[in-house]
Symmetry: C2
Protein backbone atom coordinates (compact mmCIF):
# COMPACT_ATOMS: atom_id res chain seq x y z
CA UNK A 1 0.00 0.00 0.00
CA UNK A 2 1.44 3.36 -1.04
CA UNK A 3 1.63 6.40 1.17
CA UNK A 4 -1.42 8.67 1.26
CA UNK A 5 -1.43 11.28 -1.52
CA UNK A 6 -0.78 14.25 0.73
CA UNK A 7 2.18 12.60 2.44
CA UNK A 8 3.70 11.74 -0.94
CA UNK A 9 3.30 15.38 -2.04
CA UNK A 10 5.09 16.61 1.09
CA UNK A 11 7.87 14.08 0.49
CA UNK A 12 8.26 15.17 -3.16
CA UNK A 13 8.41 18.81 -2.14
CA UNK A 14 11.15 18.08 0.42
CA UNK A 15 13.14 16.13 -2.19
CA UNK A 16 12.88 19.12 -4.53
CA UNK A 17 13.95 21.72 -1.93
CA UNK A 18 16.94 19.59 -0.92
CA UNK A 19 17.95 18.96 -4.54
CA UNK A 20 17.56 22.69 -5.33
CA UNK A 21 19.70 23.60 -2.28
CA UNK A 22 22.43 21.24 -3.49
CA UNK A 23 22.38 22.52 -7.07
CA UNK A 24 22.28 26.23 -6.02
CA UNK A 25 25.09 25.55 -3.54
CA UNK A 26 27.32 24.09 -6.26
CA UNK A 27 26.34 26.28 -9.23
CA UNK A 28 24.89 29.54 -7.90
CA UNK A 29 21.53 30.88 -9.01
CA UNK A 30 22.41 31.64 -12.64
CA UNK A 31 24.32 28.37 -13.08
CA UNK A 32 21.51 26.21 -11.70
CA UNK A 33 19.01 24.64 -14.09
CA UNK A 34 15.62 23.09 -13.44
CA UNK A 35 16.80 19.96 -15.27
CA UNK A 36 19.74 19.51 -12.89
CA UNK A 37 17.40 19.91 -9.92
CA UNK A 38 14.86 17.41 -11.34
CA UNK A 39 17.49 14.81 -12.06
CA UNK A 40 19.04 15.16 -8.59
CA UNK A 41 15.60 14.94 -6.93
CA UNK A 42 14.50 12.05 -9.17
CA UNK A 43 11.22 13.86 -9.76
CA UNK A 44 9.33 14.55 -13.00
CA UNK A 45 8.75 18.07 -14.33
CA UNK A 46 5.01 17.57 -13.87
CA UNK A 47 5.45 16.72 -10.18
CA UNK A 48 7.67 19.77 -9.73
CA UNK A 49 5.25 22.22 -11.35
CA UNK A 50 2.60 21.08 -8.84
CA UNK A 51 4.82 22.75 -6.16
CA UNK A 52 7.02 25.30 -7.93
CA UNK A 53 6.46 27.43 -11.01
CA UNK A 54 10.07 28.41 -11.69
CA UNK A 55 13.72 28.37 -10.65
CA UNK A 56 13.09 31.63 -8.74
CA UNK A 57 10.29 29.88 -6.84
CA UNK A 58 12.66 27.07 -5.85
CA UNK A 59 15.30 29.60 -4.75
CA UNK A 60 12.68 31.38 -2.63
CA UNK A 61 11.79 28.06 -0.96
CA UNK A 62 15.47 27.35 -0.17
CA UNK A 63 15.82 30.89 1.30
CA UNK A 64 12.63 30.56 3.39
CA UNK A 65 13.41 27.03 4.58
CA UNK A 66 17.12 27.53 5.27
CA UNK A 67 16.46 26.95 8.99
CA UNK A 68 14.22 23.88 8.69
CA UNK A 69 17.09 21.43 9.33
CA UNK A 70 18.55 23.45 12.21
CA UNK A 71 18.10 22.79 15.92
CA UNK A 72 16.69 26.12 17.11
CA UNK A 73 16.13 26.03 20.91
CA UNK A 74 12.44 26.10 21.73
CA UNK A 75 12.99 27.91 25.01
CA UNK A 76 14.86 31.22 24.75
CA UNK A 77 17.72 31.45 27.23
CA UNK A 78 19.25 34.93 27.05
CA UNK A 79 22.69 36.23 26.09
CA UNK A 80 24.71 33.02 26.58
CA UNK A 81 22.29 31.01 24.47
CA UNK A 82 22.37 33.69 21.75
CA UNK A 83 26.17 33.51 21.66
CA UNK A 84 26.05 29.71 21.57
CA UNK A 85 23.43 29.80 18.80
CA UNK A 86 25.73 31.90 16.56
CA UNK A 87 28.51 29.37 17.22
CA UNK A 88 26.15 26.53 16.30
CA UNK A 89 25.23 28.27 13.01
CA UNK A 90 28.93 28.69 12.26
CA UNK A 91 29.37 24.94 12.55
CA UNK A 92 26.31 24.24 10.40
CA UNK A 93 27.87 25.95 7.35
CA UNK A 94 30.13 22.94 6.90
CA UNK A 95 27.47 20.22 7.03
CA UNK A 96 24.01 21.68 6.38
CA UNK A 97 23.54 22.25 2.64
CA UNK A 98 20.04 23.68 2.99
CA UNK A 99 21.28 26.30 5.46
CA UNK A 100 24.43 27.13 3.45
CA UNK A 101 22.56 27.45 0.15
CA UNK A 102 19.71 29.40 1.76
CA UNK A 103 22.08 31.91 3.32
CA UNK A 104 24.01 32.36 0.10
CA UNK A 105 20.84 32.90 -1.96
CA UNK A 106 19.56 35.33 0.70
CA UNK A 107 22.78 37.36 0.41
CA UNK A 108 23.21 37.27 -3.37
CA UNK A 109 19.75 38.58 -4.26
CA UNK A 110 21.02 41.23 -6.66
CA UNK A 111 21.89 38.30 -8.89
CA UNK A 112 18.54 36.50 -8.63
CA UNK A 113 16.45 39.69 -8.41
CA UNK A 114 14.31 38.21 -5.60
CA UNK A 115 14.26 41.10 -3.05
CA UNK A 116 13.06 38.72 -0.32
CA UNK A 117 13.60 39.85 3.28
CA UNK A 118 11.67 36.95 4.90
CA UNK A 119 14.71 34.99 6.12
CA UNK A 120 16.37 38.07 7.65
CA UNK A 121 13.10 38.95 9.39
CA UNK A 122 12.92 35.38 10.78
CA UNK A 123 16.48 35.51 12.13
CA UNK A 124 15.87 38.93 13.71
CA UNK A 125 12.78 37.53 15.49
CA UNK A 126 14.69 34.39 16.58
CA UNK A 127 17.58 36.44 18.02
CA UNK A 128 15.11 38.95 19.53
CA UNK A 129 13.46 36.14 21.55
CA UNK A 130 16.83 35.49 23.22
CA UNK A 131 17.23 39.20 23.91
CA UNK A 132 13.73 39.46 25.42
CA UNK A 133 14.72 36.56 27.71
CA UNK A 134 17.97 38.42 28.43
CA UNK A 135 15.99 41.53 29.39
CA UNK A 136 13.80 39.46 31.76
CA UNK A 137 16.95 38.07 33.37
CA UNK A 138 18.39 41.58 33.81
CA UNK A 139 21.27 40.77 31.47
CA UNK A 140 20.94 43.85 29.22
CA UNK A 141 21.94 47.46 29.80
CA UNK A 142 18.94 49.83 30.08
CA UNK A 143 19.48 51.61 26.72
CA UNK A 144 19.56 48.44 24.57
CA UNK A 145 16.51 47.94 22.32
CA UNK A 146 15.93 44.20 21.81
CA UNK A 147 14.67 44.39 18.21
CA UNK A 148 17.27 46.85 16.91
CA UNK A 149 20.14 44.98 18.58
CA UNK A 150 18.79 41.68 17.19
CA UNK A 151 18.86 43.27 13.73
CA UNK A 152 22.44 44.42 14.24
CA UNK A 153 23.57 40.94 15.36
CA UNK A 154 22.05 39.49 12.16
CA UNK A 155 23.74 42.22 10.07
CA UNK A 156 27.16 41.84 11.64
CA UNK A 157 26.97 38.04 11.49
CA UNK A 158 25.96 38.27 7.81
CA UNK A 159 28.90 40.53 6.92
CA UNK A 160 31.33 38.44 8.98
CA UNK A 161 30.20 35.28 7.22
CA UNK A 162 30.39 36.83 3.71
CA UNK A 163 33.96 38.06 4.31
CA UNK A 164 35.13 34.82 5.92
CA UNK A 165 33.71 32.86 2.99
CA UNK A 166 35.62 34.96 0.43
CA UNK A 167 38.85 35.21 2.46
CA UNK A 168 39.19 31.65 3.77
CA UNK A 169 36.22 29.56 2.52
CA UNK A 170 34.89 30.09 6.09
CA UNK A 171 37.90 28.40 7.76
CA UNK A 172 38.34 31.47 10.01
CA UNK A 173 34.61 31.96 10.67
CA UNK A 174 34.73 30.59 14.26
CA UNK A 175 37.48 33.04 15.28
CA UNK A 176 35.75 35.93 13.48
CA UNK A 177 32.49 35.22 15.32
CA UNK A 178 34.47 35.24 18.59
CA UNK A 179 35.86 38.68 17.59
CA UNK A 180 32.34 39.83 16.73
CA UNK A 181 31.09 39.05 20.24
CA UNK A 182 34.15 40.68 21.85
CA UNK A 183 33.10 43.92 20.11
CA UNK A 184 29.33 43.54 20.64
CA UNK A 185 29.03 42.42 24.25
CA UNK A 186 30.54 45.46 26.04
CA UNK A 187 27.92 47.68 24.38
CA UNK A 188 24.94 45.69 25.64
CA UNK A 189 25.73 43.97 28.96
CA UNK A 190 26.84 45.61 32.25
CA UNK A 191 30.64 45.68 32.70
CA UNK A 192 30.44 43.52 35.87
CA UNK A 193 28.80 40.64 33.99
CA UNK A 194 31.08 40.77 30.94
CA UNK A 195 33.43 38.01 32.06
CA UNK A 196 30.59 35.68 33.03
CA UNK A 197 29.81 34.89 29.36
CA UNK A 198 31.77 32.23 27.50
CA UNK A 199 32.56 33.02 23.86
CA UNK A 200 33.72 29.65 22.59
CA UNK A 201 33.10 27.97 19.21
CA UNK A 202 33.07 24.55 20.96
CA UNK A 203 29.81 25.53 22.67
CA UNK A 204 28.04 24.97 19.33
CA UNK A 205 27.40 21.43 20.56
CA UNK A 206 25.29 22.70 23.47
CA UNK A 207 22.51 23.80 21.10
CA UNK A 208 19.63 21.33 20.97
CA UNK A 209 15.91 21.76 20.34
CA UNK B 1 46.56 66.29 -33.10
CA UNK B 2 45.33 63.20 -31.24
CA UNK B 3 46.14 62.29 -27.69
CA UNK B 4 49.31 60.29 -27.05
CA UNK B 5 48.80 56.53 -27.35
CA UNK B 6 49.23 55.77 -23.65
CA UNK B 7 46.75 58.44 -22.61
CA UNK B 8 44.20 57.06 -25.09
CA UNK B 9 44.66 53.57 -23.66
CA UNK B 10 44.04 54.83 -20.12
CA UNK B 11 40.94 56.67 -21.34
CA UNK B 12 39.60 53.53 -23.11
CA UNK B 13 40.18 51.46 -20.00
CA UNK B 14 38.26 53.95 -17.83
CA UNK B 15 35.38 53.98 -20.33
CA UNK B 16 35.26 50.17 -20.14
CA UNK B 17 35.33 49.99 -16.32
CA UNK B 18 32.54 52.59 -16.08
CA UNK B 19 30.45 50.86 -18.74
CA UNK B 20 31.00 47.49 -17.03
CA UNK B 21 29.98 48.99 -13.65
CA UNK B 22 26.75 50.30 -15.19
CA UNK B 23 25.90 47.02 -16.91
CA UNK B 24 26.72 44.88 -13.82
CA UNK B 25 24.72 47.32 -11.66
CA UNK B 26 21.63 46.92 -13.84
CA UNK B 27 21.91 43.25 -14.84
CA UNK B 28 24.04 41.47 -12.25
CA UNK B 29 27.05 39.36 -13.18
CA UNK B 30 25.23 36.54 -14.98
CA UNK B 31 22.93 38.95 -16.83
CA UNK B 32 25.76 41.17 -18.07
CA UNK B 33 27.24 40.53 -21.50
CA UNK B 34 30.46 41.76 -23.07
CA UNK B 35 28.43 43.09 -26.02
CA UNK B 36 26.30 45.28 -23.74
CA UNK B 37 29.46 46.62 -22.09
CA UNK B 38 31.16 47.32 -25.45
CA UNK B 39 28.16 49.13 -26.85
CA UNK B 40 27.78 51.26 -23.73
CA UNK B 41 31.50 52.11 -23.73
CA UNK B 42 31.54 52.74 -27.49
CA UNK B 43 34.67 50.62 -27.72
CA UNK B 44 35.57 47.79 -30.12
CA UNK B 45 36.12 44.22 -28.97
CA UNK B 46 39.74 44.47 -30.09
CA UNK B 47 40.33 47.54 -27.91
CA UNK B 48 38.71 45.76 -24.96
CA UNK B 49 40.80 42.59 -25.25
CA UNK B 50 43.92 44.75 -25.00
CA UNK B 51 42.83 45.47 -21.38
CA UNK B 52 40.51 42.64 -20.31
CA UNK B 53 40.34 38.99 -21.28
CA UNK B 54 36.83 38.22 -20.06
CA UNK B 55 33.68 39.33 -18.27
CA UNK B 56 35.21 38.02 -15.03
CA UNK B 57 38.25 40.23 -15.65
CA UNK B 58 35.97 43.27 -16.05
CA UNK B 59 34.09 42.36 -12.86
CA UNK B 60 37.40 42.07 -11.01
CA UNK B 61 38.38 45.56 -12.21
CA UNK B 62 35.05 47.02 -11.01
CA UNK B 63 35.56 45.33 -7.61
CA UNK B 64 39.17 46.56 -7.30
CA UNK B 65 38.38 50.09 -8.50
CA UNK B 66 35.12 50.57 -6.56
CA UNK B 67 36.79 53.34 -4.52
CA UNK B 68 38.49 55.22 -7.38
CA UNK B 69 35.68 57.80 -7.63
CA UNK B 70 35.39 58.28 -3.87
CA UNK B 71 36.85 61.13 -1.82
CA UNK B 72 38.92 59.22 0.73
CA UNK B 73 40.56 61.66 3.19
CA UNK B 74 44.33 61.72 2.71
CA UNK B 75 44.96 62.52 6.35
CA UNK B 76 43.49 60.03 8.84
CA UNK B 77 41.55 61.80 11.59
CA UNK B 78 40.44 59.22 14.16
CA UNK B 79 37.06 58.01 15.35
CA UNK B 80 34.92 60.98 14.24
CA UNK B 81 36.35 60.86 10.73
CA UNK B 82 35.77 57.08 10.56
CA UNK B 83 32.11 57.60 11.53
CA UNK B 84 31.77 60.41 8.96
CA UNK B 85 33.43 58.26 6.29
CA UNK B 86 30.83 55.50 6.77
CA UNK B 87 28.09 58.17 6.44
CA UNK B 88 29.74 59.44 3.26
CA UNK B 89 29.84 55.91 1.79
CA UNK B 90 26.16 55.51 2.64
CA UNK B 91 25.40 58.61 0.55
CA UNK B 92 27.58 57.40 -2.32
CA UNK B 93 25.39 54.32 -2.91
CA UNK B 94 22.75 56.56 -4.48
CA UNK B 95 25.01 58.42 -6.95
CA UNK B 96 28.27 56.51 -7.50
CA UNK B 97 27.66 53.60 -9.91
CA UNK B 98 31.24 52.34 -9.78
CA UNK B 99 31.10 52.09 -5.99
CA UNK B 100 27.61 50.54 -5.93
CA UNK B 101 28.43 47.96 -8.61
CA UNK B 102 31.83 47.20 -7.09
CA UNK B 103 30.33 46.56 -3.65
CA UNK B 104 27.59 44.36 -5.06
CA UNK B 105 30.04 42.28 -7.11
CA UNK B 106 32.33 42.00 -4.06
CA UNK B 107 29.43 40.64 -1.98
CA UNK B 108 27.87 38.32 -4.58
CA UNK B 109 31.03 36.37 -5.41
CA UNK B 110 29.40 32.98 -5.01
CA UNK B 111 27.58 33.85 -8.22
CA UNK B 112 30.64 35.01 -10.20
CA UNK B 113 33.04 32.52 -8.62
CA UNK B 114 35.74 35.19 -8.23
CA UNK B 115 36.88 34.63 -4.57
CA UNK B 116 38.57 38.04 -4.53
CA UNK B 117 39.25 39.56 -1.12
CA UNK B 118 41.24 42.59 -2.42
CA UNK B 119 38.50 45.19 -1.91
CA UNK B 120 37.74 44.03 1.63
CA UNK B 121 41.44 44.12 2.46
CA UNK B 122 41.63 47.69 1.09
CA UNK B 123 38.68 48.86 3.19
CA UNK B 124 40.12 47.22 6.32
CA UNK B 125 43.41 49.09 5.74
CA UNK B 126 41.57 52.37 5.07
CA UNK B 127 39.52 52.07 8.26
CA UNK B 128 42.58 50.87 10.20
CA UNK B 129 44.43 54.11 9.33
CA UNK B 130 41.66 56.05 11.08
CA UNK B 131 41.91 53.73 14.09
CA UNK B 132 45.70 54.11 14.26
CA UNK B 133 45.12 57.89 14.31
CA UNK B 134 42.45 57.32 16.98
CA UNK B 135 44.98 55.38 19.08
CA UNK B 136 47.54 58.20 18.75
CA UNK B 137 44.87 60.65 19.94
CA UNK B 138 44.03 58.43 22.94
CA UNK B 139 40.52 57.86 21.62
CA UNK B 140 40.51 54.04 21.93
CA UNK B 141 40.14 51.79 24.97
CA UNK B 142 43.34 49.83 25.79
CA UNK B 143 42.01 46.41 24.71
CA UNK B 144 40.95 47.42 21.19
CA UNK B 145 43.09 46.03 18.37
CA UNK B 146 43.08 48.46 15.43
CA UNK B 147 43.22 45.86 12.65
CA UNK B 148 40.66 43.45 14.10
CA UNK B 149 38.21 46.25 14.93
CA UNK B 150 38.70 47.71 11.41
CA UNK B 151 37.78 44.30 10.03
CA UNK B 152 34.68 44.15 12.21
CA UNK B 153 33.54 47.63 11.09
CA UNK B 154 33.87 46.50 7.44
CA UNK B 155 31.95 43.29 8.23
CA UNK B 156 29.12 44.97 10.12
CA UNK B 157 28.84 47.73 7.51
CA UNK B 158 28.72 45.07 4.76
CA UNK B 159 25.92 43.13 6.47
CA UNK B 160 24.01 46.30 7.31
CA UNK B 161 24.20 47.44 3.69
CA UNK B 162 23.14 44.03 2.28
CA UNK B 163 20.09 43.87 4.55
CA UNK B 164 19.07 47.50 3.96
CA UNK B 165 19.32 46.94 0.20
CA UNK B 166 17.00 43.93 0.33
CA UNK B 167 14.57 45.40 2.89
CA UNK B 168 14.23 48.98 1.62
CA UNK B 169 16.42 49.43 -1.50
CA UNK B 170 18.82 51.18 0.96
CA UNK B 171 16.27 53.86 1.96
CA UNK B 172 16.88 53.03 5.64
CA UNK B 173 20.67 52.66 5.32
CA UNK B 174 21.47 56.03 7.00
CA UNK B 175 19.45 55.13 10.10
CA UNK B 176 20.87 51.59 10.18
CA UNK B 177 24.43 52.95 10.06
CA UNK B 178 23.54 55.25 12.96
CA UNK B 179 22.30 52.17 14.88
CA UNK B 180 25.52 50.34 13.96
CA UNK B 181 27.66 53.04 15.56
CA UNK B 182 25.41 53.19 18.65
CA UNK B 183 26.26 49.50 19.20
CA UNK B 184 29.94 49.73 18.19
CA UNK B 185 31.21 52.85 19.93
CA UNK B 186 30.65 51.87 23.59
CA UNK B 187 32.89 48.82 23.08
CA UNK B 188 35.86 50.81 21.78
CA UNK B 189 35.91 54.34 23.27
CA UNK B 190 36.02 55.33 26.97
CA UNK B 191 32.56 55.99 28.49
CA UNK B 192 33.45 59.63 29.26
CA UNK B 193 34.13 60.44 25.58
CA UNK B 194 31.07 58.62 24.21
CA UNK B 195 28.85 61.70 23.92
CA UNK B 196 31.57 63.77 22.26
CA UNK B 197 31.13 61.93 18.94
CA UNK B 198 28.41 62.96 16.50
CA UNK B 199 26.66 60.11 14.67
CA UNK B 200 24.81 61.97 11.96
CA UNK B 201 24.21 61.01 8.31
CA UNK B 202 24.36 64.72 7.33
CA UNK B 203 28.08 64.71 8.19
CA UNK B 204 28.68 62.79 4.94
CA UNK B 205 29.26 66.20 3.36
CA UNK B 206 32.28 66.86 5.59
CA UNK B 207 34.33 64.19 3.82
CA UNK B 208 36.73 65.66 1.26
CA UNK B 209 40.11 64.50 0.00
Amino acid sequence: MGRPKQERAVHTRELLVDAAAGVFDENGFAGASINKILSRAGVTAGAMYFHFRSKADLARAVIHEQSSRLAIPEKPGGIQQLIDLTMYLTGQFTCNVRFRAGVRLAVEQGESGLHDYTAYRWWIKTFERELVAARERDELLPGVQESSFARFVVASYTGTQVMSDIATARADLPEQVVAMWRYLLPSVVPPVSLTSYVIDPARKDLITV
